[in-house]
Symmetry: C2
Subunit: 873 residues, 2 copies
């Protein structure tokens, strides 16, 4: 019989921290905390395996689970001295989800479980008001979560009760009034479900556990997993834990805190608490909580205990912790600890400072920052000197800057974004349903909620700017406006957020470019120290090249020459070349282009100052360059002394059914060798002239779309002749390389032959993915959503390399290529080159370098360092 | 030092018959004949390796060749008693090409080499007339072949001489007149080349050898090799052989003969000869030669000797021989023997009769007929004696013959056919909508498109004659005419197509019917006995299925259900389905289609009488089925109660950039599972009803375009549910299989996973080739010619499987597939399935069966048998 249930509490847990995959993060850490002597209300965890079995087994419990749950409950009873279902001293449970990685607010929770008309008696004796309030909360929560009863029905009932009682707050209702409400709630439950509210606590427990399992597969949870690349088959664990009450009396309270500031990384205890409240009151933002520092005055003993615990936890986990605690009648309980989410800036600062503190080593520090997170540090911020019209100031919940037009619903955020509009989503408070809209917005502004509110946590996770708890913001949804200090802002108006300061500006703020400095530079230094894969950039212009060098790029891995063809009047010469009828005409048009291309390469070589530059010769089908409108065709006809009909006929003849698989890349050079000859000459003339001036340029010429070694030989022979002729014309001699893109499956399969003719391979994983999958990137939009919805694909294969299929071909090519050319240089220059998972793959298969867009260079470097630390070569 | 030169003659040759690769066919057989005591003028062979070195070495002789040639000449001098360059008894040579396989008439020859103003004296003594005639022939031949002197210049000179002498024939010129002509020829040579005619026989020899090497790479030789799949790197050998003269005197002559009739295979000596003539006189047809039988009377001793030799050769080579002989002054010399080319009918008859004669065994007989040749026996043909008016020549896209009246639309083809008219459908190019019209026509002529165009592929599939890519044909739809080289052909005019040659005739050609019986049936029986790979057919209609069964197909390997969608009114329902906005609408349209599909499958199952039938579910992108013209869109809009704009918008939304890599195959079923559900139900209802009647059908349902096992699982689960539901509805139970096409590179790479979910794999090598090469079949026409011209590709990868690249993927898939599903059935159903080289590959990698168009079934069977004989498993 498999073990499905793990007890925790009382210093003798069955689980521990490294059992996260089985017990979920929360369960593993509850067990661990208990083991190291931290006070945790006892309970048990039902494993993630059970969730998987539950879904595989038509949502039924596996055999033996019921018995194991009963045993675990008995153990909790023995530990607490309370009994489940007991009218005297009833044991009540919270039932919470807990996946391998945190999915805040995405899944369901049921509190106060075990309350029935019988067990309520035990509570009544302690505090009647509290007892009835807990019972009515439980009925509502259970009805909503387990049975899908509309929670508005309950809200209406309590509103009515308050009106009748002439009071404003729930807390002003008398115990008797609350007891009446309990009866009304039960009636609402019965009307909605057709059944009495369950009076058997075991039935309640089974229902709540199933509700948690079911919440793994709600639309919002699926969407969250997609956004965060969490596999759908991981499942969630369920934590059943003894209830403790932060709302029991005036000596009770609850709070959430971070051991360091999650926004800045500063080493201060940071958090919020509320007295006489349950956990969700803090998170929900109904009452504005106090800063944790205030607790020191309010409950000095408890604060000291909490301080000792947080130090102990940070030393134990060697990372910044995000903790939840409850004080029940002057006694402190820890309900959760986990590694805290943090902004990129905080992650970097914490990692660097923890090395300084001797808590972790450099390699560990390198692992502590998510490469994707760095994106936040690489994007513009609001210029500190910007003097805008400050509307208000909220909490700096997630740093960075956002400039966008105001929308008020998540749906509109998505719609406007799809139309290409930049938007800022303004809400009273966000809820899990808003995830899609948050992802579509530049930033999020909320009127309510603290630093740990839903909006704040999710925005930080997304690396998205957020200002929360801007209490002055009064939203009028009906009018689609918000008012702040007398200023009305309408839907569609521009505002700007500074997530680092909490400022909200009217209009569009000025932004400044990011810099690699301070702790960030320290961390990148460690990354450079430990990584083994080089990082180049894909850059077609000197501007891109310069930016990438600032970010630490070690060369250009891909310069796409065709992008240069659209600049200025060059397109005219390109079109002449394409529309030519004879080689002589073509050569004459190419002669016009040569000086332009030479200039391009000169500027690029200069910008890279002797770092290697890989230039890909012309790749796209010629149809992409020709004039398509009547007017443009007429213009070209005039320039070339042709009729418009002739031009049109030529243009039409270039049209292809599947241009992706058509006449492009080196295939063009097989038909028209003179095109690559011109490009090779332009590259070499630029290099010759600069090297004469003292540069030390080693040009790398890359021939695209090779599928057979004979293609490469044919084209290379012609290119190399030009290279040698140019060197001889200039009377100079220096190194150069001629290599090829590997982007066709057949090239991978015959890489041993191709490597004999190539100085380097650069994997063009965009096209390789298209051909290996048979997916046209331009067309896959129409069905790939269905694939993800139906769990056939877990992620976008054009963003993260498919290691099973496409990766297998890359591995074949690496192995075969090295077999005939052991010193071959191996790179990757597809979109995947900046994706951390792909970088790790590239490290593992032994590539020399990855190449990515300039803004992703630091991300790729950090990912490469992490790969090296995790997988020593 | 490599051995470059091999002596032959005098019973002691250095080579032998099995050295064909090194010595070429002619050289190897000259050596062999000499070794078995057949009189051969002595000489030597310069190897094919030298040709390769010659080209690699800027057309220079390798070191040592000159010396080896001198030694060999010395050996010939010793054998013949003549001396090269000797004025008394000069040794003269013929210099001829000789490749591994015969390339008749493609390469150059120089005769009478060694004649100079000095050596002519030795000849003068024997016969002055003969001497001057030989000299002037040599000057002309050497000038033409070695130095490119226009041979018309020589022809004009001899014409003038004959006019001046007042004679009609060369033979009437006096020795003196011929001697004058020799001087004139030398002057012509000098004028054209700027040099005196070479008087050093060694210079002549080097020039002639180089000319033969150079003739390997002429356009016509390259073209011939392309047509016959002869690799360009094989090179030719050069045979330098002592001249013997069939024109020396009245007791001299020359002839060519076959040991059996090469047209019919009849076992009779068959050939022609001319007295007092050299070999080329027989071939050139200047004088009409005599039948070989006449030689028996004219020279009985020689004839008897010849008869003994031909029997000896046939016994020795165990095959029908094509021989050349010369009688010089009553002495018989053999100049060549080789296996004789023969028609398919002759090949079959000779193979079968040689088994009867005990000369060869059945396995050898199976190897004796070229599988491709069988094509000739399987289609009605234009009578080879028909002398028609050739309008133009296109590509021989699908063999056979068609005689019919011209129509220009598919609809008219159907209408005329229904009225009992035989028609030829003439289109610029065909599209899937034309299927019905193509089926109704005798043959198809297209102005555009290659050997693998839609028209060509579909026509071959139908076994219908097709001439494609006839670029001279200018169609004027408005006038219902086409114009070709100034001739106008109107709708209703008779034309005839020869699909085997690509010829288009005006009027009605005479046809001859093929016969599939007798020796052919015997041979096919042996093929069935020895082959290990099964042979199925690709068939979409009962007619195709029946024809294929007549040809011996063992099942259907590919039934493309989409072709059925164009029949009659079904296209309306298909379009309704595609244009639906909701699943309910789609299901209602599919319900309309169900009975049609069910009928289709019923007829197909009936036709195959319990043989396995593999049905591929819908594969092409939906865009192929939708109405494209305004009128059709309006019609659909009316039928569906929509506006034309709505219909047009939907049609436009289905357009794709790269439909080949778009929303098609199982991807459609991921989005719209109901389509495959309908098809699965139709298949199973048909099978259930027939099996209840006593049939024994095991349907094989094939899911196309799978790239990931999860796609297959998703689609298969839904299909299998319908299968089981249908079995249960009918209350029956029988076997069925669900498998997949393997046509995406990723499917090959992950075949171990996919095989767990598949009962069979069928390799769709058309698409697999497109994706592995990155070649769109529809677009490759624009560059593939350059690839073949530039020797980057040796053959069309869509006709013969690329074993290096695509084949490697097939091997990976076979190995991986068997690793997780050892019993998996493995087939191939691409166009390659009927290609003999591919069939051999399939045998080697262990496929269960190949599937090909009906008319290629015997070809595939024979190829499979040959593969089994050559590669015992």
């Amino acid at each position: 019989m498999s073990k499905f249930v793990y007890f925790f509490g009382d210093g003798h847990s069955e689980g521990k921290a490294d059992m996260r995959n089985l017990l979920g993060g929360k369960g593993a850490n509850l067990a661990e905390m208990s083991n190291i002597g931290i006070p945790v209300p006892p309970g048990f965890t039902i494993t993630t395996d059970v969730c998987t079995i539950y879904y595989a087994n038509e949502k039924k419990w596996p055999e033996g689970l019921k018995e194991q749950v009963k045993e675990a409950v008995a153990k909790v009873e023995a530990t607490t001295g309370k009994k489940f279902g007991d009218p005297e001293n009833p044991l009540l449970f919270s039932v919470r989800s807990g996946a391998r990685v945190s999915m805040p607010g995405m899944m369901d929770t049921v509190l106060n479980l075990g309350l029935t008309d019988t067990t309520i008696k035990g509570l009544e004796k302690q505090n009647a008001r509290f007892a009835y309030d807990s019972y009515r909360r439980f009925i509502q929560m259970y009805g909503d979560v387990v049975r899908g009863v509309d929670h508005d029905l309950f809200e209406e009932a309590i509103e009515k009760a308050k009106n009748e009682a002439g009071v404003n707050n729930d807390s002003e209702l008398t115990p008797e009034q609350l007891n009446v409400l309990v009866a009304e709630y039960k009636a609402i439950y019965k009307k909605a479900t057709g059944e009495d509210f369950p009076q058997d606590p075991w039935t309640q427990l089974e229902g709540a556990v199933n509700a948690v399992f079911n919440s793994w597969d709600t639309d919002r949870a699926i969407k969250y997993r997609q956004l965060n690349n969490i596999p759908g088959n991981w499942g969630t664990a369920v934590n059943v834990q003894t209830m403790v009450y932060g709302n029991l009396n005036d000596s009770s309270g609850t709070g959430v805190a971070f051991t360091r500031n999650p926004a800045t990384g500063e080493n201060v205890f940071y958090g919020e608490y509320l007295m006489k409240a349950q956990g969700e009151d803090v998170v929900a933002g109904i009452r504005t909580p106090h800063e944790i520092a205030d607790l020191k005055e309010e409950m000095p003993v408890i604060y000291a205990e909490l301080e000792a615990i947080y130090h102990k936890l940070e030393q134990h986990y060697k990372d910044m912790q995000d903790i939840e605690f409850t004080i029940e009648d002057n006694k402190l309980y820890m309900l959760q600890t986990r590694n805290g989410k943090r902004t990129a800036a905080a992650a970097v600062r914490i990692a660097v400072e923890m090395v300084d503190e001797g808590l972790i080593d450099e390699k560990t520090a390198v692992l502590r920052v998510g490469p994707e997170q760095l994106d936040q540090l690489l994007h513009p911020m609001i210029d500190p000197n910007f003097k805008g019209d400050v509307l208000t100031k909220g909490l700096p919940a997630s740093p960075g800057a956002a400039v966008g037009r105001v929308v008020f619903t998540a749906q509109e955020a998505e719609e406007w974004n799809n139309k290409g509009e930049k938007v800022v989503l303004v809400r009273v408070e966000t809820s899990p349903e808003d995830i899609g809209g948050m992802a579509s917005a530049q930033g999020i502004l909320t009127a309510r909620g603290g630093m740990t509110s839903h909006a704040a946590v999710v925005a930080r996770g997304m690396g998205k700017c957020c200002v929360s708890g801007a209490g002055d913001v009064k939203v009028d949804f009906a009018k689609r406006t918000f008012n702040v200090g007398g200023t009305e802002v309408k839907e569609g108006d521009w505002i700007s957020l500074n997530g680092t300061t909490g400022e909200v500006f009217k209009g569009q703020a000025d932004l400044i470019e990011p810099q690699v400095a301070g702790d960030f530079a320290t961390l990148m230094g460690w990354a450079d120290k430990y990584r083994q894969v080089g990082v180049r950039t894909n850059a077609d212009t000197p501007e891109d090249a310069l930016r990438a060098r600032e970010f630490g790029a070690e060369g250009i891995g891909l310069c796409r020459t065709e992008h240069m063809f659209f600049k200025g009047d060059r397109i005219i010469s390109i079109r002449k070349m394409i529309l030519s009828n004879t080689e002589a005409e073509r050569r004459s048009a190419l002669d016009e282009l040569l000086p332009y291309q030479k200039d391009d390469f000169t500027e690029l070589f200069k910008a890279m100052k002797g770092l290697p530059v890989t230039i890909r010769l012309l790749d796209p089908p010629l149809h992409e360059f020709v004039p398509h409108t009547d007017q443009e065709q007429a213009q070209m006809a005039k320039k070339m002394g042709r009729t418009k009909e002739e031009v049109k006929a030529k243009v039409d003849s270039l049209e292809e059914f599947n241009p992706m698989l058509g006449h492009r890349g080196c295939r063009l050079a097989v038909t028209y060798p003179e095109i690559y000859e011109m490009q090779a000459r332009a590259i070499m003339e630029a290099a010759c002239e600069l090297n004469k001036e003292g540069y030390d340029i080693v040009p790398e010429i890359m021939i695209p779309l090779v599928g057979d070694v004979k293609e490469l030989s044919y084209v290379k022979d012609r290119v190399e002749k030009v290279v040698k002729d140019t060197l001889s014309d200039y009377g100079v001699s220096f190194g150069y390389q001629i290599g090829t893109m590997i982007e066709i499956p057949r090239a991978c399969l015959t890489a041993n032959e191709i490597a004999k003719e190539a100085d380097f391979f650069s994997f063009g994983t965009n096209d390789l993915t298209q051909m290996t999958y048979g997916f046209s990137r331009d067309d896959a939009g129409s069905f790939i959503k269905d694939y993800i919805d139906k769990k056939i694909l877990t992620s976008d294969v054009f963003a993260t390399l498919d290691q099973t299929g496409v990766g297998a071909l890359v591995e074949v090519a690496v192995e075969k290529g090295k077999s005939t050319n052991p010193g071959i240089k191996l790179g990757i220059c597809g979109e995947h080159g900046g994706d951390p998972a792909t970088v790790e793959f590239c490290h593992k298969v032994g590539l020399t370098y990855v190449s990515c867009s300039p803004f992703r260079v630091p991300i790729a470097k950090l990912a490469a360092a992490q790969a090296a630390v995790k997988n020593p070569r």
